[in-house]
């Protein structure tokens, strides 16, 4: 209990300090002494706003975490790792140059590993998987920064933006982009997140894959697109980013649809939603960028809210397996209402916050090409379908006799959930103000005063809104129809599972054939076999003839020390004579 109280106090203090720093912008730098490198910090613009947002999320989720972890194994380790991670996250947001950012960015790997592994020995494998996948991305970032430095660019963000016009700068951009993707958890760096949903403590899922990683990854993506490199980027880079975004949306949401576990389903959505942000920023259009950043905040809100409801269900019902849940609406009404609000937000229903950010992204994607729009809107269809399935299976339907004993979650856990649900509604109501605020804090957008209505209105927002409504309606009809046919809410997505083309996709996903980590493991196996052949030779050197040589040399030298004075004097005299001859030479 006492660690929990300390933790809540620490989160509150952290928020207070963050607010103070936010309102008192300064810039600091500490020289490191080598190569003219400096640790630099700044407060201002997008970074300061995201920094404050992270502190708010930490405060809200901190209360929930402290209650959730009470009495759990390794809770002190988990809570202190969160504090450690807060330090790294703040460092990333306040960094004024790539070097400082890199330092805190890499340091974040340590608490990441600790937080997942704190669940116990079973989580070690997942923790290591996360460490390796994110580590590869971080390595890309480091390589990109090194490449820029080697090209003679300064690593300060305040320096004039770099034009992407040759091979070196393109490669550097792609490396930094990969770094951002790996932190945000987009394809192909996604596969640890579903595993962590099984193995990591739940507050980790709400705090990290849902909030902090998105804030970090998308903030860094915006940073490289808008501050480090100069817009407009070459069209092929934009295309690459939009394709990555689109594929991430479709790939992850299709897998989310067939999940039968509350947390695991949410974890796939955590991947899928990143696709929208990458797509939005990748368009390079002001509307898309505003939409991407707005979506970042919205996603952090509703995704953490959804994870919190799953945590409450896990704590009260003892399971998150959808087959064993059902009818919880009557037992946990407040949690259920919060679930509905956050679920309709993520599905993009008017007037909740997700609707507005998605509309901005749709409009921008549509301008860039119909294919990207179709990917995004299909993603919305499947998202809506999967949340209809989830809500139906968990909160409606027949309640099992065991579940009749379930009570509502404790107040301290409900409160953060409700606050986040309220934020979702507020985000929808004040969307205009938020979009204007984003326009103001990003210098790139300052000169293009585009606000929501204009961005959407160009292609006649009405058509896009109509499309969205049709798609959402289609999702509802699809669910009801499938439910009637199969008679089970859980099997409502079965027909998609069995659809042509998708059958083999799902089978491969089931067998983990689509997980890049598994490919890497196979490649690693080949490399290891090769390396062990070299290792055997090295070992032969260290254990075979090197010690033999040294031992025989030392034995021979010892044997020469026979205690014979004549020899000893002869050595000394011989040495002297050699020295004198050498000197006379």
């Amino acid at each position: 209990m006492i660690p929990g109280i300390f933790f809540i106090i620490a989160c509150l203090l952290h928020f207070g300090l963050a607010l103070f720093i936010f309102t008192h912008p300064v810039s600091l730098s500490f020289p490191l002494g080598v190569f003219g490198w400096e640790l630099g910090f700044r407060v201002g613009g997008l970074s300061a706003s995201v920094f404050l947002a992270a502190a708010v999320f930490l405060m809200i989720l901190g209360v929930y975490t402290a209650i959730f972890m009470r009495g759990k194994k390794n809770s002190v380790l988990f809570l202190s790792s969160i504090i450690f991670s807060a330090l790294c996250v703040d460092g990333v947001f306040l960094a004024a140059n790539l070097l400082t950012l890199l330092f805190f960015w890499e340091a974040l790997l340590i608490p990441l590993w600790l937080m997942i592994a704190s669940r116990g020995s079973l989580a070690f494998k997942t923790a290591t998987k996360a460490l390796i996948i994110v580590g590869v991305g971080d390595f890309c970032l480091m390589a990109g920064a090194a490449l820029l430095w080697a090209q003679g660019y300064t690593l300060w963000f305040s320096a004039p933006p770099i034009m992407v016009n040759n091979t070196a700068t393109s490669v550097a951009f792609i490396l930094l982009f990969l770094g951002a993707l790996s932190k945000a958890g987009a394809l192909p760096f996604h596969s640890w997140i579903p595993d962590a949903a099984d193995d990591a403590p739940l507050p980790f899922m709400a705090l990290f894959p849902a909030v902090m990683e998105k804030l970090l990854g998308i903030y860094f993506l915006a940073l490289i697109c808008l501050e480090i490199f100069a817009q407009p980027l070459p069209s092929w880079l934009g295309l690459l980013m939009m394709l990555t975004g689109g594929i991430t949306i479709i790939f992850a949401v299709l897998l989310a649809l067939v999940q039968k576990d509350y947390k695991k389903l949410l974890s796939y959505h955590a991947i899928s939603q990143v696709g929208y942000m990458v797509l939005g920023i990748g368009t390079g259009l002001p509307g898309g960028i505003i939409g991407g950043l707005f979506h970042m905040i919205n996603n952090a809100l509703y995704k953490s809210g959804l994870f919190l409801t799953s945590g409450s269900v896990e704590r009260q019902a003892g399971t998150t397996d959808l087959a064993r849940l059902g009818g919880l609406f009557s037992r946990m009404p407040i949690t259920a209402v919060c679930f509905i609000i956050t679920a309709v937000s993520i599905s993009g229903v008017w007037p909740f916050n997700g609707f507005f950010s998605k509309e901005l992204i749709y409009a921008a994607a549509f301008k860039r090409g119909a294919i990207f729009y179709i990917m995004a809107i299909l993603g919305s269809f499947f998202t809506a379908a999967s949340f209809l399935k989830l809500g139906h299976a968990a909160y409606w339907g027949k309640i099992t006799p065991v579940n009749k004993q379930i009570k509502e979650a404790p107040f301290m856990m409900l409160m953060p959930t409700v606050v986040i649900a309220l934020f979702c509604i507020a985000g929808g109501i004040f969307h205009q103000n938020i979009e204007v605020y984003i326009t103001k804090i990003i210098p790139f957008l300052n000169h293009t005063p585009i606000i929501h209505n204009e961005a959407v209105g160009e292609i006649s927002g009405n058509i896009l809104v109509m499309m969205t409504l049709i798609i959402l309606g289609g999702a509802i009809i699809n669910h009801v129809f499938a439910f009637r046919m199969t008679g089970s809410s859980l099997k409502a997505a079965e027909h998609i599972n069995q659809a042509p083309f998708l059958v083999s996709f799902y089978r491969r996903a089931e067998n983990k054939e689509l997980d890049p980590y598994e490919f890497a493991k196979v490649g690693m196996g080949i490399f290891l076999r090769w390396a062990s052949a070299i290792e055997a030779r090295i070992e032969n050197f260290y254990e075979g003839w090197a010690p033999t040589l040294i031992n025989s040399a030392s034995a021979a030298l010892s044997r020469m020390h026979s205690g014979n004075y004549a020899w000893y004097i002869l050595w000394a005299v011989g040495g002297t004579i050699s020295v004198i001859i050498f000197m006379l030479r």
Partner: protein, 476 residues
């Protein structure tokens, strides 16, 4: 001020052997303790002064001039440090009254001789005080009067007499070719008649004499026996001060101030240094006796000092001086460890140390500090000094020697790990009884371990205020 460093030991010596000795029988230990502490404090905080003794009318080359500069300050600190450790150890270990009197007498003479060697400015007086130190050391080694001690002492005597022969011939040749035996006269003579073969022969003879005194390979035959057979306080004094001041310091002083860095001298020093570093480490690997292992290790470590000096760069010389100091600290620590282990196991055999860490945790853990410093593991002091030596070699584009110095570090690691494995991983030994470890020895070990750690942590400060000024004042 400089003169007092020689005069006070002399006065103490006279007091110790005058009729007054019965009155203040037990005060000599305290007197010497105070003197050495004063010397340590004086070297750290003191100023540099010089003093003239003797007169020029007797003979132009019989001058007695003492001078303290930034190099002698560090060496005086080394002498007082090793002296303090040895003195305290003797007070604890030598229980009977008469042997202790003998030890104190000889110890005072050795300190007197070394202090004088540190401050002298001519080769003949240097030779005289080298002999003063050496003769007291012969007797100190033989103090226990058993067979091993007498043999070791005799071996030292024989090798030392060869050194005497070489040194005296060198001095004679210097008198023949130069205008005198003072450092100034010799360096003047070398500039004047540098190409003369006699001066080169003199140089070679004198250097080899000093190499015998410092026990470098292949002049080292006396070292292992002397260190291993002598009693523990004497071993500390020999390894920590006598060998280094009487041999190595004299080489440092003469090369830097008198002979200058010519390629021939540099190559000689580098070759002998590398031979000692590698040979000493190889020989140490084969030893089964703790103190004999430490003796070979000393040869190897002092080789690094020669390597640093032979590089001829400022960084290398600063590293050599720093290693000179560090070696005293960690080798004294390891000898004190050996003494405390010997109290329990009754011998210096390393095989008997198995699992001693369970009964003597303090000695075992402090021996780790000595090992870390000796093997050059950061952040202990030995790491920085070896690093400086290697950097200096690299800067002087002696890459081959730098690689040898690095690889020999692995051998160092090897023989120290051999020791630590026995201390820590031997399993619980039933032979040891839990009897009380002497508190003074424990304090000594802890102080020395902390000292080597602190010297490593405050290395930038030491480098800036002691080593670099010393090196900078010496090199043109």
């Amino acid at each position: 001020m400089a003169g007092w460093l020689v005069l006070i030991p002399f006065i103490i010596l006279v007091l110790m052997n005058s009729p007054v000795r019965r009155i203040i029988k037990h005060a000599y230990f305290g007197l010497l303790l105070v003197f050495l502490s004063w010397q340590l404090g004086f070297t750290i905080f003191g100023s540099q002064r010089s003093l003239n003794l003797g007169n020029n009318s007797l003979a132009p080359w019989l001058k007695f001039q003492l001078n303290i500069d930034s190099l002698s300050v560090i060496v005086l600190a080394v002498i007082s440090l090793a002296g303090l450790v040895s003195l305290i150890l003797a007070q604890v270990l030598i229980k009977e009254n008469r042997p202790r009197q003998h030890f104190l007498n000889l110890f005072t003479i050795a300190i007197l001789g070394m202090n004088a060697v540190t401050m002298l400015e001519d080769v003949f007086s240097l030779y005289v005080f080298l002999e003063v130190t050496a003769v007291s050391s012969f007797v100190l080694i033989a103090l226990q009067k058993n067979r091993d001690c007498l043999e070791a002492s005799f071996k030292y005597l024989v090798m030392s007499s060869v050194a005497t022969l070489l040194l005296l011939s060198g001095v004679a040749l210097f008198i023949l070719t130069c205008s005198g035996t003072s450092f100034a006269a010799i360096s003047e003579g070398m500039a004047f008649a540098g190409t003369s073969p006699w001066i080169k022969v003199a140089l070679g003879l004198f250097t080899c004499g000093l190499l015998i005194k410092s026990g470098m390979i292949p002049f080292h035959a006396w070292v292992p026996d002397a260190y291993a057979a002598a009693s523990d306080p004497v071993s500390v004094l020999l390894a920590g001060a006598v060998t280094k001041v009487a041999g190595l310091y004299a080489i440092l002083r003469l090369v830097i101030f008198v002979w200058g860095f010519s390629p021939v001298i540099e190559q000689t020093l580098l070759f002998v240094g590398a031979l000692s570093v590698v040979g000493g480490a190889l020989l140490a690997l084969a030893q089964k006796d703790f103190k004999r292992m430490l003796a070979y290790s000393s040869i190897s470590q002092l080789g690094y000092v020669l390597l640093g000096l032979g590089s001829g760069t400022m960084v290398g010389v600063a590293g050599a001086i720093f290693h000179f100091f560090n070696h005293t600290v960690f080798k004294s620590l390891l000898f004190v460890n050996a003494a405390s282990f010997k109290q329990h196991t009754g011998s210096d055999d390393m095989e008997k140390l198995k699992g001693v860490s369970s009964v003597m945790p303090c000695s075992s853990i402090t021996s780790l500090a000595g090992f870390f410093s000796g093997a050059g593991i950061p952040p202990f002091a030995g790491f920085w000094s070896k690093l400086l030596v290697i950097l200096g070699l690299w800067e002087a584009s002696r890459q081959g020697y730098a690689v040898i110095a690095i690889l020999a570090g692995l051998l160092t690691m090897g023989y120290f790990l051999n020791l630590e494995r026995k201390i820590f991983l031997g399993g619980e030994s039933v032979e040891f009884k839990k009897h009380k470890v002497n508190n003074t020895i424990v304090w000594l070990e802890v102080t020395l371990a902390l000292l080597t750690l602190l010297c490593g942590l405050f290395y930038p400060y030491l480098l800036e205020h002691f080593m670099l000024p010393a090196a900078a004042s010496m090199l043109p």
